[in-house]
């Protein structure tokens, strides 16, 4: 029988009733003649609850131990779903990441899957079992429990589908991928399909539908990926290689990200060593700097603006304070709340002038831009949060999103 990998997120299994509903959905797929591997996240807000407990114990909990703690959430889910399936007569068996030989590399709390042993899965399928897999977790070369970071269950699902060379369906509480987040722009359209590259840019620009790494993996192994509502009765969005059936518009989607802050460094000597030193110090703290822009030097001094995750702002400020003493011209401003808009479209490759047109739209609406960065298929803008709604509507109208 053909195999499908399905993934159900935390909101799809947040209660006993919802777990029973997912069991029914799986039972229906079985009746249609599919073998199933089902990847689940932790129930509802379990992961947040566990993290909160750890922070009550220590302000800096050891990451190795955070992985031991957080991985229990998915383990509860797999056992309950397997119990629910067996209860309605569907033979099912649960596996944790380590039990399934999901090997990972890299740091605790943000490991990457390096290898999956498909033999266990296939032998259970051959015994007629639905295989229930704990998402988000694995085991490293030291036999320690690891986790893949927020949304990592998507990646578990895609990695298994890649290994089994089968399609992957991600079931969630939204019914597909939209041109713009419908909570921000209610007239946004649902996309029937989107290319891996565009989806990757959307996800990494703040559209929270899928874990970025899962899309990379799907692209590398050419896994057909569907995002759909967890009830299963509405057609979702297919993420696949670019093909003839896809729309050839300049802009496919608009992502909005409010999770970052901006810092502007003033009076920095125009000396690459000094600048590199500042950013090296920040990188040492594992702070992920996203957008950077630098002014041309005036009196051999430059201004540099960059964005970073909000939660990392206090740590970054600690470092910058040290430079105040070292460099007498140096000062900095912080902007806690910014809005990062990113327009994405594979059509940009062939249609020139998207950036300038975007500039016009923003200018016509009196929206000032702090930083711009561009790549082959996307352009990102940092604007003031109070201009966000105006900007979304202007861009969405212009490009019919």
């Amino acid at each position: 029988m053909p195999i499908i990998v399905q993934k159900y997120g935390g909101s799809s299994i947040e209660s006993i009733e919802k777990i029973r509903n997912v069991a029914k959905r799986i039972s229906e797929c079985r009746k249609k003649g599919f073998d199933l591997v089902v990847v689940v996240s932790a129930m509802g807000k379990t992961t947040d609850y566990l993290i909160d407990m750890a922070h009550q114990v220590s302000s800096k909990p050891k990451k190795r131990e955070m992985d031991v703690l957080m991985s229990t959430g998915e383990q509860v889910s797999i056992s309950l779903l397997s119990i629910a399936l067996n209860d309605i007569g569907i033979a099912a068996v649960s596996y944790t990441g380590p039990q399934l030989g999901i090997k990972t590399e890299g740091y605790h709390t943000k490991s990457r899957i390096s290898e999956i042993d498909k033999e266990v899965i296939l032998s259970e399928i051959n015994r007629g079992k639905v295989v229930i897999v704990a998402g988000f977790q694995g085991v490293n070369e030291k036999n320690e429990i690891t986790t893949l970071g927020r949304g990592g269950s998507d990646t578990t699902a895609v990695a298994i589908a890649a290994k089994l060379e089968c399609p992957c369906e991600i079931y969630t509480d939204v019914d597909g991928v939209y041109t713009v987040d419908p909570r921000l722009y209610p007239s946004a359209r649902k996309l029937e399909s989107i290319s891996y590259d565009e989806m990757l840019e959307l996800a990494s620009s703040g559209a929270g539908v899928l874990h970025t790494r899962s899309i990379e993996l799907a692209e590398i192994y050419n896994v057909p990926l569907t995002v759909a509502l967890n009830t299963g009765d509405i057609k979702g969005t297919i993420i696949k290689e670019l093909d003839e059936t896809m729309e050839k518009t300049a802009i496919t989607g608009l992502a909005v990200d409010n999770s970052e802050s901006m810092i502007t460094l003033n009076g920095v000597p125009h000396d690459i060593k000094i600048i590199a030193d500042i950013f090296a110090k920040i990188a040492e703290l594992d702070i992920n700097i996203d957008m950077i822009s630098q002014t041309t030097p005036i009196n051999k001094l430059v201004s540099i603006s960059f964005t970073l995750p909000k939660i990392d702002l206090p740590q970054a400020i600690n470092i910058l304070e040290q430079y105040k003493e070292k460099i007498f011209t140096f000062s900095y401003d912080t902007f806690d709340n910014i809005s990062k808009l990113t327009v994405i479209g594979i059509g940009m490759k062939s249609q020139s002038g998207v950036a300038s047109k975007m500039f016009n739209i923003l200018a016509e609406n009196d929206i000032s831009v702090h930083i711009i960065t561009t790549s082959e298929i996307k352009i990102s803008y940092v604007i003031n949060p109070e201009d966000q709604q105006k900007a979304i509507e202007a861009v969405a109208r212009e490009y019919n999103l």
Copy 2:
């Protein structure tokens, strides 16, 4: 440095504050110069909560999946305790049962430890780490997660101590082993020491202080075992091989068990095949029959009374109903609530007449006895629950318990 295995039960770590207290206790032991392996249970009522969730999903949850579910409780505990220790500067590292190679045999939800790999523990100790181990759990030869049954964390602790040839300290919410449960008989005395054999009989007769299997293991491997209050400031009870220092009284302790029911079978043909068949059918359901007594035959019919765990009563009744149709003389009575009193003492071996003296005590107090069973160092009585308090007081007074 000398190694000690310590075990903290669910009530000792039921809150973040209590976890911090345990961390402080461990830190003090470190300062005294001990290397430590610390076994923990699930926090507070976690295991009950998880079992309840499973029963909401299914009335007959698969036992394999129950083990996957229940084992998460201890996993949460080990990570939080390890985080708490590292937070106060004590290097600690957590291990689940499967990670530590705690191999088990037997059925899910009541497996037995067959092997422990001590190399991982010793190498962490050599690195200066306190090793935090999830109690109650292991992994079977099929690489499935298993659990050891209620109280199994005691057994994990003793098994590790046996392997490391070191003492084992069980910290709990009582300050030692008493002659009688102080909740039932407030003037009960705390025992300074008790022999393995007596403790084993006490535990298997309803004194809930220790997991029976843990005492068996301690005896086989001669592990010095201490039961003490989790604050650590009161001297507990030492469980060890019988030696000169121990009291030579006829009765060391009195255990009371209210977890059983009694069934009386009437009109059973005096035919060993029929009787064996009834008990075989009950055994097939994995029901653990404890005490049995049979009357002498009258008109080739006998009455048989036996006790069994309360929760198994409905299943047993199902089976007995079938015999009503097969054997026209057959009927049965059930006694949901009974009281089982067990007096235990290594002194019984040398002092004859304990049983008859006990009979006198009960008779003097108008207490009727339904079943009696005796072994070398214990005598158990099934009495009516309404006579329980009277019986406890009479026996305790007589034997100065």
